[in-house]
């Protein structure tokens, strides 16, 4: 005890008199410390664009980001990714909405897609990007995923549309030509019925959750030449085309036209993918990642040779599809916008895009990469995508997306279960949607 006190006394910290030299030394050290701290804070604030740090919250779609892209980003830019968190996309909306509404700045960068860009962007929770920050050659769906009402809130990380995947072996066994997949809805229904046997189903879908039911209806609506909203954002999905579309879906499940009844309880596209690769389902309409999972020898009964891929069969129009592209946006509350923008740029760059296509089976966000040899070789879906891109590919992201899709999905399911006619169901949903949209517009 004495020794400690002695040392402290000797150091001039307690008791004793402080000499002028010692005072200047201590003051100099303190000032230096404060300066160093201020510099560190400035660097952390990311004003320079080099160095600094960011935090990212993402969905679980792209494992490659944590494994490869982040180390590459840190090495290339000197910016540290202090926190990278992955959350299942079905749980992410609530987390982000709660976080952003309370002004939480824990994350600088967040995953987004058409509905969230609209909802969070309109609420003022996303940082608006300058025109100069947006590359010129983005594919329209990918750009739509990060925009709302003419404002761009982020940059895309992958493009995605649904196309048709089919099991060539099953088609052949059912007496169908595996090289001539259905091109029209009638051909598709016939094929599904022919592919259905005691243990097999011709077609399966993911109607089991809110967004799944909406997506399946929207896709059929577009294939039947219909629209969700008119130019003034009034719901028009209860049109003749809408009723016809829902009527066709109801027939598929109610009249046993070849749709797997478990469709009504398949919750996710990943579950649908698993069902397909088990080899007892003839046809599914799914996102591009289906190719990668179906050709994975460790998991799938299919191979690149037995897997078929084509554009969706049309009803009133030759084809159409729904878009599911995703991107990254910057939080309005971020204090690290420059480093965050660096991250967005890197992910949308051809170098990273090539990896996402080749390793994970998602479509590239740049038009230029659609003809890239490595990309086309790794993901033949790109060729189908190019053909599918000639037709409509929409998702109708809007600030009221959650409300409208929830009510619409309930009505669609009611119709699918035979509790309401397609017309009654869609009229009820349209009336509810109109009220909701007017509420958002403050009318």
């Amino acid at each position: 005890m004495k020794l400690i006190d002695g040392n402290r006394q000797e150091a001039g910290l307690i008791g004793g008199k402080m000499s002028r030299r010692r005072f200047l030394g201590v003051a100099g050290l303190a000032a230096g410390g404060i300066m160093a701290n201020a510099c560190a804070t400035l660097e952390g604030g990311g004003g320079s664009g080099k160095g600094g740090q960011i935090s990212i919250i993402d969905d679980t779609t792209n494992p490659i980001i944590e494994k490869e892209i982040i180390p590459k980003f840190e090495k290339k830019t000197g910016i540290k990714v202090a926190n990278y968190q992955q959350v299942n996309i079905n749980e992410l909306h609530d987390k982000l909405a709660t976080m952003l509404s309370s002004g939480d700045d824990s994350f600088d960068v967040m995953v987004t897609w058409a509905a969230w860009s609209a909802e969070f962007g309109a609420a003022g929770w996303l940082h608006k990007l300058d025109e100069g920050d947006v590359p010129d050659d983005l594919v329209p769906g990918a750009l739509d995923a990060v925009s709302w009402d003419g404002v761009v809130y982020g940059l895309p990380k992958f493009a995605s549309v649904q196309t048709m995947f089919y099991n060539k072996t099953l088609l052949e066994e059912a007496g169908l030509d595996p090289e001539a997949p259905p091109r029209t809805w009638e051909e598709f229904v016939d094929a599904a019925a022919q592919l259905t046997s005691q243990k097999r189903y011709g077609y399966a879908a993911d109607f089991g959750n809110i967004d799944g039911a909406y997506q399946n209806f929207l896709r059929t609506l577009l294939l039947n030449g219909g629209e969700m909203y008119d130019d003034q954002q009034n719901p028009v999905f209860n049109s003749q085309e809408g009723v016809g579309a829902l009527d066709r879906l109801v027939s598929l499940v109610r009249e046993r036209e070849g749709m797997d009844p478990s469709t009504m309880q398949i919750l996710h596209s990943a579950d649908l993918s698993t069902l397909f690769i088990e080899g007892d389902t003839g046809i599914v309409f799914n996102w591009p990642f289906q190719y990668a999972t179906a050709t994975d020898p460790a998991k799938s009964t299919l191979t690149a040779k037995t897997l078929g891929n084509a554009i969706l069969p049309g009803i009133a129009v030759p084809s159409a599809t729904i878009d599911g592209s995703e991107g990254f946006a910057i939080s309005s509350y971020s204090k690290n916008t420059e480093p965050a923008l660096e991250w967005l740029r890197l992910v949308a760059s051809p170098e990273v895009q090539r990896r996402i296509v080749v390793d994970e089976g998602w479509l590239p966000v740049s038009k230029s990469l659609l003809d890239d040899e490595e990309v086309v070789k790794a993901l033949p879906v790109v060729e189908t995508y190019k053909e599918q891109s000639k037709y409509k590919a929409l998702r109708y992201g809007a600030p009221w997306y959650s409300d409208v899709t929830t009510h619409l999905s309930t009505e669609i399911t009611d119709a699918m279960l035979g509790r309401k006619s397609p017309q009654e169901a869609l009229d009820a949903a349209a009336s509810e949607a109109k009220k909701t949209i007017n509420g958002y517009k403050g009318q």
Binding site: H93, A123, G208, I210, S262, T406, S409
Partner: protein
């Protein structure tokens, strides 16, 4: 042991009783308890008051700039909202089934486990398994069991010829709600059973022997000794399970996400959708506040019932003494 509890109860009564001088001990006890009681009241009270305030406003998270005071509009809207009323109906169905069946089944199981038989200890340990399973895992497990293509339930029922083709247990609103009820029952049974079992073991054996000597048959012994002694425990279990059933969430979230066609959307899940999916915090708070009032009213009802029964049994005992 009984004496010391009685003494504790006496101290508590003195502490809260009016007109008697407070001892230095009770004042000291009060100040010891006060800080933690104040923190707990703050932690509970502030959110409740804030939720009440929110429920009187048109508060949408997506429109943070405008939150006008709307009085009781949210409550009026709720009373006229067919989705809310439907959710209330489903919650009632769910609660009545899980509480009613849960208590009956748990009573049966507890009576069985209270008997001496070989493997009793193992059976009691096994009983804890559902309770030890985390709620989300429970939901996922039942999703697998109910799966239309590969589910164990279909496999077993097909194997024994109970059904001729695989059923989609989660495919229609009615069957999905019953499936959720069953999954919840499986989860809650161990807890209720253990509470009843513990209470059963506290009933003196001498009462049964005396009743036998007096010529009471098994049914009479069950009604007048077992059930009568379990009354307080059963009321406690009813209170707890009613509260838990009204605010059921996890099993629905994992198993059905409120579907199909809102068929499993109970009040709590409905409040969650309004608040976190549609970001309508004002309306969601009104729903949450209503749930709280509902639970409060039911709990008060149970407690009144308990007091009345205590009162009537006291009178009966005094009459018997006289």
């Amino acid at each position: 042991m009984t004496k010391s509890i009685g003494a504790g109860g006496g101290t508590k009564n003195r502490f809260f009783s009016r007109g008697r001088a407070e001892s230095p001990d009770s004042r000291f006890a009060f100040w010891l308890v006060f800080p933690s009681a104040a923190i707990i009241m703050g932690l509970l009270g502030y959110p409740i008051l804030y939720a009440a305030w929110l429920s009187l406003h048109d508060f949408k998270l997506s429109r943070p700039q405008s939150q006008p005071f709307v009085g009781l509009t949210n409550f009026v809207q709720m009373a006229q909202d067919p989705e809310f009323l439907a959710a209330l109906g489903r919650t009632t169905y769910f609660t009545v089934l899980t509480v009613g069946l849960g208590v009956l089944m748990a009573l049966g199981l507890a009576l069985l486990l209270a008997q001496e038989f070989r493997g009793n200890a193992f059976a009691r340990t096994l009983l804890l398994v559902p309770w030890a399973v985390p709620p989300v895992v429970n939901g996922i497990m039942w999703r697998w069991i109910y799966d239309g293509n590969y589910g164990a339930l279909n496999w077993i029922l097909l194997k024994f010829g109970v059904i001729s083709e695989a059923k989609l247990w989660l495919g229609t609103p009615e069957s999905a709600l019953n499936a959720v009820v069953f999954a919840e029952l499986w989860k809650l049974l161990p807890f209720i059973t253990l509470i009843i079992l513990a209470s059963l073991q506290g009933i003196p054996r001498s009462l049964y022997r005396a009743a036998r000597v007096d010529g009471a048959n098994a049914w009479q012994r069950f009604i007048h000794i077992t059930l009568s002694s379990l009354r307080n425990t059963l009321i406690l279990v009813l209170i707890l399970q009613t509260m838990w059933s009204i605010k059921v969430f996890d099993v629905i979230y994992v198993l059905t996400q409120g579907g199909p066609a809102n068929g499993t959307t109970t009040l709590f899940y409905y409040g969650y959708l309004e608040t976190f999916k549609f970001l309508d915090v004002g309306y969601g708070s009104a729903v949450a506040f209503t749930i709280m009032l509902l639970v409060l009213v039911l709990t008060c009802g149970y407690i009144t019932l308990l007091r009345r029964q205590r009162g009537s049994s006291k009178v009966a005992k005094e009459e018997a003494k006289a």
